[in-house]
């Protein structure tokens, strides 16, 4: 049970959503965008968020599309993980999102919601980081395209009032050979000890991880080492370990030491498998 009240808006266009947001903000109200609303409900129930207005973007046409246009794949932010997986337009993304939550929850969780999650995992972002995707953002000034690598640090940084409308990915990238593996403490449905994803583009392997550190990451210095055959075996892994962007997480799912152990094994596996791909 959510123990506070809020206004609920369901705009039909992104411009209407922005207008509603600005209108309520001018009244000093706390406003929040939602799409699948699953995380909102969980957090509201726990009293972690308490907006006075929620704006539900799932009826906005541009947020619901999933199609190819010229050389680009366009996925709307309000497309559910089930629809992303069933469409299988981006095989690496399919495999990654099928490892998030349960099948029933994936019928409601959206790709945009996963990318903007308050949780540290946001596993759906890994394929987009690897593909140098662009995100289309609704702003005061209209729709803006920004590189996901530019707006993502430890989360996707949007300005007040903005929301993700679409994610755009180069068709050529999504056809490339890939690897992904998720490790959990025990059951198949759980938060990750480590989720890994890799693709090979123009002979070079790109890697991204979630669950290891407090936020997902893809780092050039790690990829340089992954692609450097002059540093062999265990030595290469140890060098990679020194490039992590933040301390390894220790929590109820795994100790720091165990996460490091899993990471080392997975990185070795990625190097081995991707080197075998021509």
């Amino acid at each position: 049970m959510i123990n506070f009240d809020f206004e609920y808006c369901k705009p039909k266009t992104w411009a209407e959503a922005i207008k509603q947001y600005n209108n309520y903000r001018s009244q000093n109200k706390q406003v929040m965008y939602v799409a699948g609303a699953t995380e909102f409900i969980s957090r509201a129930r726990m009293d972690e968020v308490n907006p006075e207005v929620i704006i539900d973007i799932k009826e906005i046409q541009e947020c619901r599309v999933i199609h190819q246009q010229n050389s680009e794949l366009i996925i709307g932010a309000a497309v559910t993980l089930t629809n992303v997986a069933d469409s299988n337009v981006f095989p690496l993304l399919t495999k990654v999102v099928k490892q998030i939550a349960t099948k029933t929850e994936r019928n409601k969780i959206t790709i945009g919601g996963n990318l903007m999650s308050n949780l540290p995992y946001k596993e759906g972002i890994l394929p987009f980081l690897l593909a140098d995707s662009k995100i289309v953002i609704a702003t005061d000034k209209g729709l803006e395209k920004r590189s996901i690598l530019q707006v993502f640090t430890d989360s996707i940084n949007l300005r007040d009032g903005e929301f993700i409308v679409q994610i755009i990915t180069d068709i050529e990238i999504i056809k490339q050979p890939f690897f992904t593996e998720k490790r959990t403490k025990q059951s198949s449905v759980n938060y990750p000890i480590l989720t890994s994803a890799a693709i090979k583009v123009d002979g070079l392997t790109r890697v991204a991880f979630s669950g290891l550190c407090p936020y997902p990451f893809r780092l050039q210095q790690i990829e340089n080492l992954v692609n450097d055959p002059s540093v062999k075996g265990e030595k290469r892994i140890q060098k990679i370990m020194k490039q992590l962007p933040a301390p390894i997480v220790e929590d109820m799912h795994a100790t720091q030491k165990y996460r490091a152990f899993v990471f080392e094994r997975i990185v070795s596996k990625i190097i081995e498998q991707m080197e075998a791909v021509s």
């Binding site: 409900i41 099948k103 029933t104």
Partner: protein, 155 residues
């Protein structure tokens, strides 16, 4: 406006309910409409006890606001009658305490309708959405497989 009238089709019958925007669907079903089949348990989308079908798709009714479901068609366990899956759940004793059963039956029903040729991995993927604290998983999975096989044979 913190409350509103929401039109829903519940088990084939059009209903209008006056709800708080903050109200989850499970609350509306149980406390506004008297449909007690969807069971509250985790209230966090983790266990599947509150599963209902929205436009044929399983959703956790604890993890959806009633206002999100305007003009949508909702099937609760009360709306599912005389189906093979229900009959086989009973015949195979795919039931122990029964608390999770409505969720499992609705999810299994949707699985069979959506994926009539589901293999083991697909069945596992779907049934992973529901938790049975009596751990009667094997009988439930066996029942789903049996109904899939029966339908395959009859076609």
């Amino acid at each position: 406006m913190l409350n509103q009238v929401v039109k829903l089709t519940i088990n084939g019958i059009e209903k209008e309910v006056y709800v708080r925007n903050a109200e989850t669907l499970i609350h509306t079903l149980r406390h506004e409409l008297g449909l007690m089949g969807a069971k509250p348990a985790c209230n966090n989308g983790d266990c599947g006890a509150c599963t209902v079908l929205v436009d044929g798709l399983p959703l956790n009714s604890c993890h959806t606001l009633t206002v999100e479901n305007e003009n949508r068609s909702i099937t609760t366990i009360e709306g599912l009658t005389d189906t093979t899956i229900q009959e086989r759940f009973i015949k195979n004793w795919a039931i122990q305490c029964g608390y999770c059963t409505p969720g499992f039956v609705l999810n299994s029903y949707a699985l069979i309708e959506t994926e009539p040729d589901a293999d083991d991995a697909t069945i596992d993927e779907w049934l992973d959405s529901n938790i049975c604290r009596c751990t009667g998983y094997q009988e439930i999975k066996q029942t789903v497989k049996e109904v899939i096989q029966m339908r395959g044979t009859n076609e």
